[in-house]
């Protein structure tokens, strides 16, 4: 069985240039199995054959590898720190240098919850402080389906558990069991597809250049092995502007080599500042 899984992955590598070496193998296996079950519990061999004959299935399978689980303001403490410490600092430095644009990248945005959360925080800050700054907000994910979902901005109640009532009323329109992001918030974010392992650039192409004041990459690294984590982290750090802020997921840890480049601004959250 394992052998077949390996064959499947090799096939994906040759066909779709999908480099599975960075992922946890067990997870990939589980996801293949998941897909097999989804298609009616056929044998892995049969599935492999099916895969070879149906080009569409390769896409499906790769997308199935992507985990797009998140909800708004996941890790409330981290977001609170972002709102109270990092965002005011970023805006203050912008005011000092008389710049009018803040550049943000949500790398691995999945279905957009995190990006929208941050956009809300910025908007709230602007409203409170009577500020007028442009947000150049890029949110990317490898999974085209997830990006589509993010663009639609329609969520179920499970995503909403950490959203404060005021924000809920202000930034969502409620439907039957759905919550839709209001268009003006949607307009603030540019969603696009970007592979964090893409070698030719370190920032999404829509952004043209890096210089991000804030980069969010939460619970993305956990899917990759150490080597790939390093690769991605290096890209993220490169894409940051000097003194830019990087926010990682709670269980993501920086290797020693990165401690020279990043300074953790609070021990309670994985928020770092580029040195």
């Amino acid at each position: 069985m394992k052998n077949t899984h390996l064959k499947i992955l090799d096939f994906l590598k040759s066909e779709r240039n999908f480099d599975y070496s960075g992922y946890h193998f067990a997870m990939l296996e589980r996801r293949i199995q998941n897909r097999i079950i989804h298609l009616g519990s056929i044998t892995p061999e049969a599935y492999f054959e099916y895969l070879q004959n149906n080009p569409e299935e390769s896409t499906r399978l790769i997308e199935n590898f992507m985990i797009n689980v998140s909800h708004f303001f996941r890790d409330p403490l981290s977001f609170e720190l972002l709102a109270k410490v990092a965002i005011p600092a970023i805006i203050a430095s912008k005011q000092r240098s008389d710049e009018h644009s803040i550049r943000i990248w949500s790398a691995g945005c999945a279905r957009g919850e995190e990006a929208y959360s941050v956009a809300m925080l910025f908007n709230e800050y602007f409203a409170r402080e009577m500020e007028q700054l442009n947000l150049d907000f890029f949110a990317t994910d490898f999974d085209s389906q997830a990006i589509e979902k993010a663009k639609q901005g329609i969520y179920t109640s499970t995503s909403m558990k950490e959203v404060k009532h005021g924000l809920l009323k202000k930034y969502f329109t409620e439907g039957d069991e759905t919550y839709t992001i209001i268009p003006e918030l949607k307009m603030k974010i540019q969603f696009s597809i970007y592979d964090l392992l893409y070698k030719n650039s370190y920032a999404p192409s829509e952004s043209i250049f890096g210089d991000f004041d804030l980069v969010l990459c939460r619970n993305v690294l956990i899917y990759f092995n150490q080597e790939f984590q390093k690769l991605i982290l290096n890209k993220l750090i490169k894409s940051l502007a000097p003194k830019g802020v990087l926010m990682l997921g709670e269980s993501e840890v920086l290797g020693d080599s990165f401690k020279e480049k990043l300074r953790q601004i609070s021990k309670y959250a994985k928020i770092f500042e580029k040195k």
Binding site: M27, S101, F138, N200, S207, F209, G210, S251
Partner: protein, 1379 residues
């Protein structure tokens, strides 16, 4: 007790010196002091003796003198006969005897006086009378002197009496009187009969004696004082002293008191003297003999000086001797001491150099020995410490071993140091780290029984020190002189806590380890053991921690995965509820198909629409001309020919109407039909339509009835379209009815109006009913013959009704007739789309002063404009709706409005008109931003600026700032001085410079020298009127854009307005507005714009702005780049696709281009080639911005087109991007690269790799022709020789060589070549750094199907097949070389 500590000194030398000096100098000093003291005492004694002697001598002299005087007296008294005296004194009367006696005595006295000159006067006082009886001075005889002391003293003493010294004023001398009583020798009682008195002149007697100062030196003198201590004799230091000076000095006082002695005291001058004094009892005088101390001590002083000199000389001598002696003794001790100090401070290399045979020398030697010992120990200690330090605080074993080995070899001077660590399986010792080790040492070895030097260490677990190594050791040391075998090896087994060997460290030294080295190692062993063990433990911990972290992450990932699965399950459940997965897919496919069909329909309609337009134009001419022919030439033509013409015209008309119908239909279907709902009266429109068709009905002899309800029905709909519908239906009814009639009836309910058209025509069969509303479907294919018509009518009707939100139904019985019913809503349902407008109001600012209203139907354009303007500090309000724009303009009074023309509800023209008619908004400058260029219309309607899309931000800003900045100078042109002055005064109040011109000619003249910011122009002026002035101003290049306000009393005609349109900013009419209001108006404009002035100082670009054209379809990308470039002062124009870009460069040549490669329709490569193909843009610097993964052929395609920079999207930061743009533009990096579009400037490409392809050549490019056939070479030369420099190569090898040598701009490569074929050549060319970017055109006779692909695949940039087509070849070359 003397505190000896006081005399202890820090330095032994000082100490020695001090004591030596003390010893030597003390006796000297004591001796000298004693000598001095003794001799001065002796001297004093001698002086005393001398003075006493002199005193006594002098006193003796005085006493002798007094005694002499006394004896004189007694002699005189005794010698004088008593009788004589008696006679002389006792006779009571003067008789002769008596006189005789007197005379006798007087003579005798005179005789005395003569013999003793000291006597001044000698006389005898008669006791009886008290008168001077006899005197040597006879004139004194007879004077009464009984009361005088001389007399009384003598009587009382009854012997010689010596009186006091006194001063006789009579003779001016000091006198001393001696007196003696004269007794009556006959009287028994010896009765006194008189007193003999002698006055002694001291000046001639005593004084010379006293003044004799022999033996008294320079300062000595004697002095006598009387009882009252008055000086008696003359003094050396005091003139006229006798009886004048009372001496208070101690010796004189003592002498006067009758004391005798000698002592040192002050004399009457207060000077220190030695004085000997005594008392002369005879006279009661005190006698003092004295000499100045200074004179007397002179000898003592000189002796003292001599002694001091002696002391100094001997003292110096002593010091010198002491110095040398103490130095000799102390030097070695000091040296030893200094050395000891250094040693104590840790410098154990010190050895003292005391080479004495005495004890000090021995001490030195001992110290040296001792220090050597200490040094060795210290070295060891230092080594141990260094190693201890080296092994602490390392996180990684590599660092640890690096450090440890380097310190170990440093401490022990080892040339080689190797650390082997036991591998995880504990089977092998693997080389872990080393210094200076050879390859042999890198090999792992078994942990069980290691061979050779290392074995013992593992076995014994003790440090092994091997000496005298054998030649076959693997520890050899490689030097530049060859392999050297070290003499000694120390192997340290590193033990863990369980005393197992976990690592081995070997140190090898070419010439033996020192004792210290081995000792150090021995002492450090434990440290190394424990630190290494700790490190191993630490590593294990770290591994565990990392594993833990990874597990955590995996757990997190798994939990997310689980959540995802849960969500998927949920989703699947949901999907199952809605239907199967497959169904959904089918639905989607269906939806897609539907969309495709819709799209196809739309495309078709669009096509038809375009076609129809194209067809209508020629048809119109055909119809028109055939009519002309019919009218003019029918008499000249035969009937048949006329007939033909009629046919032509008829068919032309039919065709035209068909086309019109098609056009209509396609318009409707394409959604391009414009609807203008209005309230209309149904009765009116029905009547109109019916009346229009009635003639046809009449012609066909059928009835046409219209029945309307009594009450008026008002309908909100598009009148024209309704008219069209009704005309069509009723027309059809009439057309298809031959007998009977058509009946139209109208009725309504509260929401819908129904129009029914009933005919008695041919009717429609049931099968055909659904078909009649389809295009080109008349009921019967044959019917079209008998009934004219396109078959489109009903299709149009159906679509129109639908567009009006109504419905059309039909019922019919063939042969009997049909009923068409149209139902239309009474109220218009088609609301204009509001879409996502609301969000735009979020940004409404509190401060309106710098607010700009942006109006555009495209939110993305709004975003773009807003972003640009926000960057410049403006507040933005925006809307996509025209009506909303009017509301916002009124409410917020923005300083400017940017206005799009195409908008869903109210188009821009209308918005503009309404803005201008509303007095509250009429002064807000409006800048139109539109796709189409209708500047004239815009200006005519009152817009101040007109910008065509795509929006150039700099232009927009310039435009906005132009209209929101106050003028600083205004020129008023008016022939009426009053009007002129009134406006001028007002403006001056606003601190604005005013220039006045009283005629058009003067104005134009003044404008040559000064350009105001605003011109106020009157239209009606003599000679040259305002229009002429305006025209003249507008034709001059320097004033063509000068803002002008027209103020006129003229009633403007249409013609006037036309003349003014597009030329002036606004027109104020004096006739419609009162004059003061006009001033208010100008003032308001001035005030409003003035307020902005201070905020907009940085309006005009400071330096020449460089224009960059950005060709990019992704709007977000555009904004990002724009921001960064515009901040640097570049002006960025944007083209959204290749077409726009090419359009742009046709009329404007930018300074640089940024080009995206991936664009829809025309990709970047094509755009690039087209741009390079144009003469004007051939040399413009271009930066490629791409997200594409460039292939080799992409790169060569780019390189062939002279690309300056290549940037991968997302692979730069802002600064780098800017740097690349600047580099591309030749800013800061290379000033000479600025491109002049008119001159031939050779801009060499900066290649993608940063390498230039070719070398510079002026004008002509160089082409390498690789061709084996001489004829072909000739042909090629004929074609290319005029334009290019040619280099020939006759075979593949030659070609390759020449390519490398010449670096041509292009290579023409034949593929069939001797020695090396074309494929090989191109492969090698592309592999070489210098030639890989040279474009290559393949020239070959191979023209098989796949050849072209194969050749291009090989890396060629172009392909030309033989036989060569000259033009084709030139074109291909031109394409690649960009000429």
């Amino acid at each position: 007790m003397i505190d000896m500590k006081k005399f202890e000194f820090d330095s032994i030398r000082t100490n020695l010196t001090f004591w030596f000096l003390t010893l030597a100098l003390s006796p000297l000093l004591i001796g000298m002091v004693f000598t001095y003291w003794e001799s001065s005492r002796a001297f004093q004694e001698k002086t005393f003796e001398k003075l006493t002697a002199i005193r006594d001598l002098k006193v003796g002299q005085v006493e002798t003198w007094i005694a002499e005087r006394k004896s004189d007296f007694s002699t005189f008294a005794h010698n004088t006969e008593k009788t004589l005296l008696n006679d002389a004194l006792n006779s009571n009367d003067s008789n002769s005897s008596e006189n005789k006696s007197k005379k006798q005595i007087r003579d005798r006295l005179l005789n005395y006086q003569k013999n003793y000159l000291v006597y001044q006067e000698i006389f005898i006082v008669n006791s009886k009378t008290g008168l001077v009886e006899i005197s040597t001075n006879s004139s004194n005889e007879g004077q009464y002197k009984k009361n005088e002391t001389a007399y009384t003293g003598a009587i009382m003493a009854d012997k010689i009496f010596i009186g006091d010294v006194y001063y006789s004023a009579l003779i001016g001398k000091h006198l001393l009187s001696f007196s003696v009583p004269l007794n009556d020798s006959w009287d028994e009682n010896q009765k006194t009969i008189g007193v003999l008195v002698a006055n002694v002149d001291l000046t001639n007697s005593l004084s010379p004696m006293l003044l004799n100062r022999i033996g008294l030196g320079e300062t000595g003198e004697t002095l006598i004082v009387d009882k009252n201590v008055m000086a008696i004799n003359d003094l050396r230091w005091y003139d006229h002293a006798p009886l004048q000076l009372k001496i208070n000095a101690e010796p004189a006082v003592r002498a006067a008191q009758g004391k005798t002695g000698i002592f040192i005291s002050n004399d009457y001058r207060g000077k220190k003297v030695i004085a000997a004094y005594t008392y002369i009892p005879e006279t009661g005088w005190g006698f003092v003999c004295k000499q100045d101390w200074s004179e007397l001590s002179e000898a003592t002083v000189s002796m003292g000086q001599f002694l001091i000199t002696l002391l100094i000389i001997s003292g110096l001598l002593i010091i010198v001797i002491v110095y040398f002696v103490s130095k000799t003794i102390s030097s070695p001790i000091i040296a030893l001491n200094a050395d000891s100090k250094k040693i104590a401070a840790g410098d154990y290399t010190i050895r003292n150099a005391v080479k004495l045979k005495n004890e000090l020398g021995k001490l030195g030697e001992s110290i040296n020995t001792m220090v050597q010992g200490i040094e060795s120990k210290a070295m060891i200690q230092k080594g141990v410490t260094a190693i201890s330090k080296a092994v602490i605080g390392h996180a990684s074993r590599m660092r640890y071993s690096n450090n440890l080995l380097s310190y170990l070899s440093k401490v022990t001077d080892a040339q080689m140091a190797v650390l082997y660590s036991l591998n995880e399986q504990e089977l092998l010792f693997e080389h872990f780290d080393s210094i200076g080790a050879n390859k042999n040492l890198m090999l792992p070895f078994m942990s069980g029984k290691p061979e050779g030097e290392l074995g013992n260490a593992v076995e014994s677990k003790k440090i092994q020190h091997l000496q005298e190594l054998s030649d076959d050791t693997k520890f050899t040391y490689r030097t530049s002189a060859g392999e050297i075998i070290p003499k000694e090896i120390i192997t340290i087994p590193v033990l863990n806590n369980d005393s197992e060997v976990v690592a081995l460290i070997s140190l090898a030294k070419i010439n033996g380890f020192s004792h210290e080295a081995t000792e150090t190692i021995q002492l450090s062993w434990n440290t190394i053991n424990s630190s290494y063990s700790n490190l191993l433990a630490g590593e294990q911990t770290a591994v565990l921690a990392e594993n833990l972290m990874l597990s955590n992450q995996k757990l997190e990932a798994q939990s997310e995965e689980l959540q995802q699965q849960a969500e998927e399950l949920q989703q699947q459940t949901d999907e199952l509820q809605k239907g199967s997965d497959e169904l959904l897919l089918q639905n989607q496919e269906l939806e897609m198909q539907r969309k495709q069909v819709e799209e196809a329909t739309r495309m078709k309609s669009e096509f038809l629409s375009n076609m129809s337009h194209e067809l209508r134009t020629p048809l119109n001419s055909i119809n028109a001309l055939s009519r002309v022919l019919i009218n003019q030439a029918n008499s000249r033509l035969t009937a048949d020919e006329n007939e033909y013409l009629e046919v032509v015209e008829r068919n032309g008309k039919r065709l035209l109407s068909l086309i019109n119908d098609i056009l209509d239909l396609s318009k409707i279907e394409a959604g391009k039909m414009e609807l203008q709902p209005n309230n209309i009266s149904l009765l009116r429109i029905m009547t109109e339509v019916a009346e229009n068709i009635r003639p046809l009905a009449k012609h066909k002899n059928i009835s046409l009835d219209l029945s309307m309800p009594n009450e008026e029905i008002e309908l909100e709909t598009d009148e024209n379209r309704l008219n069209q519908i009704l005309t069509n239906i009723i027309g059809n009814a009439v057309k298809f009815t031959d007998k009977g009639g058509v009946r139209i009836s109208v009725h309504s309910d509260p929401t819908v109006a129904y129009i029914q058209v009933k005919d008695t025509g041919i009717g429609i069969s049931k099968e055909m009913l659904p078909e009649i509303f389809k295009e080109f479907r008349q009921v019967d294919g044959s019917t079209s013959r008998s009934y004219e018509g396109t078959g489109l009518g009903l299709a149009i009707v159906k679509n129109l009704v639908k567009a009006l939100h109504g419905e059309i139904t039909v019922t019919s019985t063939p042969g009997e007739g049909s009923v068409f019913t149209v139902s239309l809503p009474l109220n218009w349902k088609g609301n204009p789309e509001q879409g996502d407008l609301q969000w735009m109001h979020l940004d409404i600012p509190s401060e309106t002063r710098k607010t700009i209203l942006v109006v555009d139907d495209d939110p993305s354009i709004i975003r773009q404009i807003s972003d640009s303007l926000k960057e410049s500090g403006y507040h933005i309000i925006a809307t996509t709706s025209g009506t909303e724009a009017l509301r916002l303009a009124q409410k917020y009074k923005p300083i400017a409005i940017t206005l799009d023309i195409v908008m869903p509800d109210l188009d821009g023209w209308e918005v503009l008109q309404q803005l201008k008619t509303n007095p509250e908004t009429t002064n807000i400058p409006v800048i139109i931003i539109s796709i189409s260029d209708e500047k004239q219309t815009g200006i005519a309607l009152g817009a101040v600026g007109y910008i065509t899309k795509p929006v150039n931000r700099q232009l927009l800003l310039r435009e906005i700032k132009k209209w929101t900045t106050a003028p600083s100078s205004v020129m008023i042109v008016d022939d009426n001085p009053t009007d002129r002055e009134q406006i001028a005064g007002l403006l001056r109040l606003e601190q604005i410079d005013v220039f006045q011109a009283e005629s058009g000619a003067q104005c134009l003249e003044m404008l040559q020298y000064h350009r105001p910011d605003l011109l106020v122009l009157d239209l009606m002026m003599p000679e040259m009127d305002g229009f002429q002035v305006l025209n003249e101003i507008r034709t001059r290049p320097e004033t063509c854009d000068l803002p002008i306000i027209v103020v006129t009393a003229k009633d403007l005609t249409e013609r006037d307005k036309k003349l003014l349109s597009g030329k002036v900013s606004s027109v104020l009419t004096k006739s419609t507005v009162a004059l003061p209001q006009i001033y208010d108006e100008i003032k308001r404009i001035v005030e409003r714009i003035k307020g902005e002035r201070s905020d907009n100082q940085d309006i005009r670009p400071k330096k020449q702005t460089r224009h960059i054209l950005m060709i990019e379809d992704n709007e977000i990308s555009v904004i990002q780049v724009q921001k960064i470039l515009e901040k640097e002062g570049f002006a960025v124009d944007v083209a959204k696709d290749g077409k726009q870009a090419l359009e742009f460069v046709k009329h404007s040549v930018p300074d640089g281009i940024i080009l995206d490669l991936m664009m829809p329709e025309m990709d970047g490569f094509e755009v690039l080639e087209k741009i390079r193909g144009r003469q004007e843009t051939r040399m413009i610097p271009i930066l490629i911005l791409t997200a594409k993964n460039l292939t080799k052929s992409d790169l060569s395609r780019l390189s062939a087109n002279n690309i300056q920079q290549l940037v991968q999207k997302g692979d730069v930061n802002g600064r780098e991007l800017l740097g690349k743009v600047k580099q591309m533009m030749g800013i800061e990096t290379d000033q000479t690269r600025i491109v002049d579009h008119h001159k031939e400037v050779d801009v060499r490409p900066i290649m993608i790799s940063g390498k230039e392809t070719g070398k510079a050549s002026i004008g002509r490019k160089k082409i390498l022709v690789v061709e084996d056939n001489a004829d072909n070479r000739l042909t090629t030369r004929a074609i290319l020789g005029e334009q290019y420099d040619l280099v020939d190569a006759i075979d593949g090898e030659d070609g390759l060589e020449k390519a490398r040598l010449e670096i041509p701009d292009l290579i023409l490569l034949d593929f069939y070549l001797p020695k090396m074929n074309g494929f090989k050549v191109i492969k090698l060319l592309k592999e070489n750094e210098n030639t890989k970017y040279i474009p290559v055109i393949a020239v070959t006779a191979r023209a098989m199907k796949n050849d072209r692909e194969e050749i291009l695949e090989a890396g060629c940039d172009g392909y030309v097949s033989k036989p060569i087509d000259a033009d084709l070849l030139l074109e291909e070359i031109g394409k690649l070389l960009g000429s």
